[in-house]
Symmetry: C3
């Protein structure tokens, strides 16, 4: 049977055959012997394969791929559009990204090709086609990766072709320029546009900065659209390459997504075959990895961890070194949560370049580097648990949290009332660091995602509310779901504009309460009788039919509600109308505990993952912070790593301890 | 009688009829009912009135202004040059501001029109003329505002036409290029110019920065002139519009001045009919508001507060929320000090745009926003006290402080020895925060202003001394005035150059002391026998006929004076030749107390304002910091707000308490 | 006998005759009377001498130089290429530097001429030739200074001609493009170049920055070459002027070098006659001055301190004021260490310009400024000790520290694994602040310098190891030298690439140990049995024949060595394979004490300098930090300043105390 990205647990590494062509066989033999099964290659092969435009030399990679097969390994081949060769920049300066100052990005780094450039798309698809023709049916080929970490280094492109694509996108989005002017409310500031071609990209303007040289804040509506447009532009760039590959290759296609705030994950993977992310963390590891994992789990596709370091990252200053035992715990987290690939970046230390100092499995002088033994421990895990984890799928969480890409654009691109550029992290912190450390495991739901697998959906820091979201959520609520909205949610429409009919727009009709006013403020309040401090963007709710769970007790809002619950059919909608430092966690606890939503640890750094399906059940328990943790094993079973029979009930996990329990 | 900006106390709000045309009558009715009397509109009307160049549609504003009249309200109409429409930027890219990097500011913000552009001036005057023709004699029209907050967002313009205007300005200022070279001392650094056309704008140069990409420090003389030139350029831009309006409208004209460090207030309002400022503060409110008030009071014209928020500002992160009672106290401060207008920005929350999150009187969904009740309390104040405050004028302070625009340029534009960009605030802090909180009420005097209404003139942080200032001050001193100069004053001539004849230049002949040397240093000294710490730009004075009030006691200056007083006719000139942290206040106290200069509070946040004239007298007492304050009511009288008869003498003011006392 | 830069102790000042031509004689008379012997002038004379291209007016400088001679003074004449006149920028915009954004630096500052511009070189050599023809044999002429503080304000030039020079330089360095591609390992990231003309300058690229507007990290190899290229380019610019001067003048030539990290000192002075530096410090004065002194001492040429302030510096915010007595101590440091010139910047306060606030010997109004008396004390020192210090040379230190210009480029230009831009200071701190304050006096050795005068050579923070260095060092080690390498040394080849054969490349064969791996990490270890903390870029050494002096005790390296010593012939090579906070000093102490390397103080701020030669011996003792210090006078002798006979042995130096002892 032809292997697929989910037909087993894959364990592998990125490899650059051009670094030491004379060591190809030695490298592959060592990989195999270390227990690796998959080799990722090609993300910077362009100048090797196509040293000048239209002149190809496939020798080295042909040899590499043939030898991969010969060693019983499989390959993920990457299209190299992330690393355009020198001739491309010289011959087609218009194919390069342009920054907000109107300056073209030149050669010397990576990611300088413009996603909007017709020429760049042709050239990127051209080299992808050459690769697909050569190796699209090669026995070693497990799958394709398109480009590398799209939008990783820069946010936005101001090239001439981007400008044209921007106008076209706006036309598709709004239909008429009058609709755009209305949606953005441009007349108020004399910003009206007479045609789509007139809508500027967000370049330099004088508003909102005080020095003479840079910056300028743009209109909320324009920034909202700019963020969405760039996501769509990026998806289009990836899909064009996918289409080129499919002409000649049946192999599944993915992308390693790292800038999850810049390209909508649901769109990016919609037409790809499996999902993947790169995830490097050295602080609050569990929550930060889970941020990416939860989004991938919400997509309903096989997924991989395409890059992490076996020891330390370090393009510049080296990141902290992973302690012994940690790498296996990371692998258990990703595999346990449902990922079927776990790969390192990279095999042998680069002798030169921007990431010369990045950790690898082998030193530049080809000795085992730090982590060499750790990789072996991951291989052991894969060997002992691979069959079980492949056959018994990861179970979804009981809770979903919206992954509100539109709202992230609103918050991250200066949309009032959140302002500062770090604001998107407020949102991440609240969710990732107030939920998971308390044991609330969750998946992520795209804005138009189906809530039916979940009992509870949380929508915090989701200012932009789509009508489609409401349409998905309301029937589910009526059927018994609990939807917890806020704080700072539902205060803007899909274009980032404030609603004119009610403070919470379309949602307000279902809240059983009226939004009287909103303000940035600090006040005291109560939460089921207990005093709490509220601070940030607050709304005052006048409860109608809704139950009041929390009121303001001081200030302008005194006596009005900040937390309400409205029964809707068999379910309910909770509105959290005020944020507060460390408040989201307690509110969620108060709401979810009575619902019987289960959690199996309250120790940050520990995760308890359910497996269930195909007549099997099991649990993966992982401790990631090196502190040890108290967890609960919900069912008795056998630990596949040790062979021990473990009773159900409370357990202590030692530092980086992993249990893979088949019940 | 036709109302004028000072014929009553005006109370009003900015309004954007284009935001909700269907609510025009409802809005105006609510304004009237809330006690407002004036509506400010039009600052961003350009695209509405002139959707394409030369094509006009006055319908909406005609309706708005007619309905204003119909509701018994009055209008301030703004010329919309702050918000050039899209067609202007597209059709006339040369009409836009250019930043120091040579990049044009584009559409999408505000204030991107170049004040130096002939085309932009024509277009701005053109739309102003259309408005003046249409509504210049409309019964609702109370007055005009030109543009909005000139130079608010950017400091400087490097356009081609600005460059030409710069050369012309220099020619007018210096006459010959030799005079410029001499005044700036360009030969020393091989910077000599052969013609005015050769004098560059302060663009990028390598001096004084260490990275490869930005910055560069320019010559003191050039920066001094650049600052003065930009002020003049701005004034010319405003005056051109005023001239256009006057052809068709007899209504008085103002501007809402907010960047008081970038355009000289005395020049800006010289040919306008009344003055105005925008003032938003949430810390050290009394001193910060007074900074603007004192400047307006010094101009000898009616003046308004054109913008403040009724609740909170917030283009980005919302500012603190004004607590209950505070708004009335602010209004009492402005009205009590002599202002006759107090207006809010703005009526209804914008649905989109950069200031979407800014507080307004109504929510986007048209409910009363925070501050709605506070506005009513201001209306009550106006109703009870308006007649008295209109008929009995505000009395000038006993003290004037120079408002040294030239010196601000010197300090703020990198002039040695002050250096850093925050330096202008040193000056503000010293004056506003060491005087007002100690109860020393003061007006501001332009550099060539008439000191005759005052007993004492203070000139701190005024490095640049004009001969004209000396000419105004000396006769007044001889007639009995007390002139307190320094610290860091009189060390540069009007071109920012150090004097070659004496350390304090033209002034030194009148000091009875010789400046031996200057240095940035820290030392100890005495102040009338008490030890003090001196730190910053210090001069050592060798006293001749002057009385020594303070000496250095350590360091190079030991034994020399840092504080002297010289009798000059019936008056005296005091030289404060060294700064020190928190030292200005004690020095002033020591000097002013023996003169019997009166103060009626020593509590920061409290202000006691005298009214006197037309046979009436009275006092306005305000507490602004919410802390309560001890004040003295100088004369018995009746509180017009409560009807109480209040005895003269000490009083406690509660938080935000206001008393308007007619004697 | 014609005086030379080292024929006596010179004491002087920079002077701008154009500032006050009417005071020329008075100025020179005061200089002479104050004890000064040399006047430096001309660094900004260009517009005075050549007011328009090809039109000369030498009157003022002719008079100045004639009067210098008439007053018995001598002159250092500066070529004025640092201050190109206005006509040059207007007529030859291509002669100006261009920054990374592609923007030309304009007139108004200094240093804006492009060192790569053929036209600029012609013009700079042209005016230098005119000066040499006029005054090249003038009796007052003591020497020439070329330009002023090369590369002081900007790092790098991106002009078109620079680009061409860059390609040419690369061709000379690498010979073939294949060699470059191999040396830089460009194939790995698809960065291969097909010709030298294709190699871009390090402009904007998207890698490694996250905002849309600036930055971009480049390839290690390219940045390494870029740094070396710019040094060579600068040297070529200086040498072209030197050649022009020598045609008409036999006088010795120097440059005042201040940006020692941007131009290789050994190259810069190779073809000049004497060396000089500008050195302004107000914190950790001894170490910071010594940083420059040690480099100059290592060049084997006469050398001067060309600029310091007599009181305070202050282009912007004034630096701290030098206390009384300090200036003489500074002079004693420079003269005592072997310098034969000590000059101030500058004579009279500039009336205008960027350094208007900089301290000078006279005020703008021509009174004595602060420091006037201090200068006299320096003159006294010169008078009493000049003969002795001129005839008895400064002795070299026992220790040399490599001055690894290539490694500074690697560290300072983003080379992994050091990363941040401040990294070059890590290196300085370690050396200057852990050695000198402990009394270890050292000279600096260029990368290819001759170690034979020294007993010990230290090579810390020298990641880039040249083969030439190894060739110089090994015979010296075999003959008995002690070479202490590391930390963070010998991990890259001359192109900044990691070695492929051994962790420490060419050096490893001589270490008696194998580098197993490297990592950025923290761990514990021991140093001769004492516990120490190791942190930063560490390597694990497996000792073969080497003696282990320190081992890791925790972490991945536990049991392996971080400090080894290998006997090599009669000498030894010590490898310090891990850094640690405040660890370098103790390691050096442990290594050097047994060797009997002498030190005469352990108080920071005190320096004890040996003089020896021509049958004489002596010591100069200086206290620079104002704290007093304990030192040892190695031999009895007579203090030339006081006439006292001082016994050998411990002494206390009071604040700023100076002793010049002839034995």
């Amino acid at each position: 049977m032809q292997p697929t990205p989910s037909s087993r647990l894959w364990h592998g590494v990125s490899w650059y055959p051009e670094l030491a062509p004379e060591r190809i066989d030695a490298d592959l033999e060592r990989m195999r012997e270390r227990g690796l099964s998959v080799v990722r290659l090609g993300d910077s092969c362009w100048s090797t394969l196509e040293p000048d435009e239209g002149h190809y030399d496939l020798t080295l990679y042909q040899q590499a791929i043939d030898r991969i097969a010969a060693h019983g390994l499989h390959a993920i081949l990457c299209s190299p559009s992330y690393t355009p060769p020198r001739w491309l920049a010289l011959r087609y300066p218009g194919a390069l990204r342009v920054d907000r100052d109107g300056q073209s990005h030149g050669h010397g780094g990576r990611g300088h090709g413009s996603y909007a450039s017709t020429r760049f798309r042709e050239l990127a698809c051209g080299i992808a086609t050459v690769m697909a023709q050569a190796w699209g049916r090669h026995p070693a080929l497990l799958g394709w990766q398109i480009d590398n970490e799209v939008n990783c280094h820069v946010d936005g492109d101001w090239s001439v072709e981007t400008r044209m694509a921007w106008g076209d996108w706006l036309r598709r989005r709004f239909g008429t320029i009058a609709a755009l002017n209305h949606a953005w409310q441009t007349r108020v500031w004399s910003l009206e546009y007479a045609s789509f071609a007139e809508v500027q990209m967000p370049g330099k303007n004088p508003f909102g900065h005080t020095t003479g040289t840079s910056g300028g804040t743009h209109h909320t509506g324009l920034m909202q659209a700019w963020g969405e447009f760039h996501s769509d532009l990026t998806v289009g760039f990836v899909e064009a390459q996918a289409a080129a590959l499919r002409v000649h290759s049946p192999a599944p296609i993915t992308h390693n997504h790292i800038q999850l705030e810049r390209t909508r994950s649901a769109d990016l993977f919609r037409r790809l075959d499996f999902a993947a992310t790169d995830s490097y963390w050295w602080a609050d590891v569990a929550s930060n990895h889970w941020h990416n994992i939860a989004i991938l789990r919400g997509l309903g596709k096989p997924w991989w961890l395409m890059e992490t370091s076996a020891n330390q990252s370090g393009g510049g200053t080296p990141g902290p070194l992973k302690p012994a035992g940690f790498l296996r715990a990371e692998a258990a987290l990703f595999y346990g949560a449902g990922g079927t690939g776990f790969l390192y970046w990279h095999w042998r230390q680069h002798r030169g370049g921007q990431e010369q100092g990045h950790g690898a499995l082998r030193t530049a002088w080809d000795l085992p580097a730090l982590g060499w033994d750790e990789v072996r421990r991951v291989s052991d895990l894969v060997e002992r648990c691979g069959d079980f984890l492949t056959s018994c799928p990861a179970a979804p969480a009981e809770i979903a949290v919206h992954d509100p890409f539109s709202s992230k654009q609103y918050i991250g691109r200066g949309g009032a009332p959140m302002g500062d550029g770090d604001a998107q992290w407020t949102y991440r912190r609240a969710i990732d660091q107030e939920l998971l450390p308390q044991g609330w495991l969750f998946d992520r739901l795209p804005e138009d995602g189906d809530p039916s697998p979940y009992r509870v959906v949380l929508s915090p820091w989701m200012p932009v509310l789509w009508p489609e979201t409401l349409e998905r959520m309301l029937p589910w609520v009526r059927a018994g779901g609990t939807w917890v909205v806020g704080p700072v949610s539902a205060i803007r429409d899909r274009h980032g504009s404030a609603p004119a009919d009610a403070g919470f727009g379309l949602l307000e009709a279902h809240l059983g309460a009226t939004c009287l006013w909103t303000a940035g403020m600090s006040a005291e309040g109560d939460l089921a009788g207990r005093p709490v401090k509220l601070s940030g963007f607050c709304a005052a709710l006048q409860a109608g039919t809704a139950e009041v769970l929390g009121r303001y007790t001081t200030g302008y809002g005194a006596g009005q509600a900040w937390l309400t619950r409205q029964r809707v059919g068999a379910g309910s909608i909770v509105m959290i109308a005020a944020p507060g430092k460390d408040l989201y966690g307690p509110v969620i606890e108060m709401l979810l505990e009575p619902l019987g939503v289960r959690r199996f640890t309250r120790t940050a750094g520990a995760v308890v993952l359910a497996r269930s399906g195909q007549g099997q059940r099991g649990w993966v328990l992982v401790e990631l912070h090196g502190t040890g943790a108290e967890v609960e094993l919900p069912d008795a079973g056998t630990d596949l790593l040790t062979g021990e029979v473990l009773p159900a009930g409370p357990r202590h996990l030692g530092p980086f301890e992993v249990r893979v329990v088949r019940c």
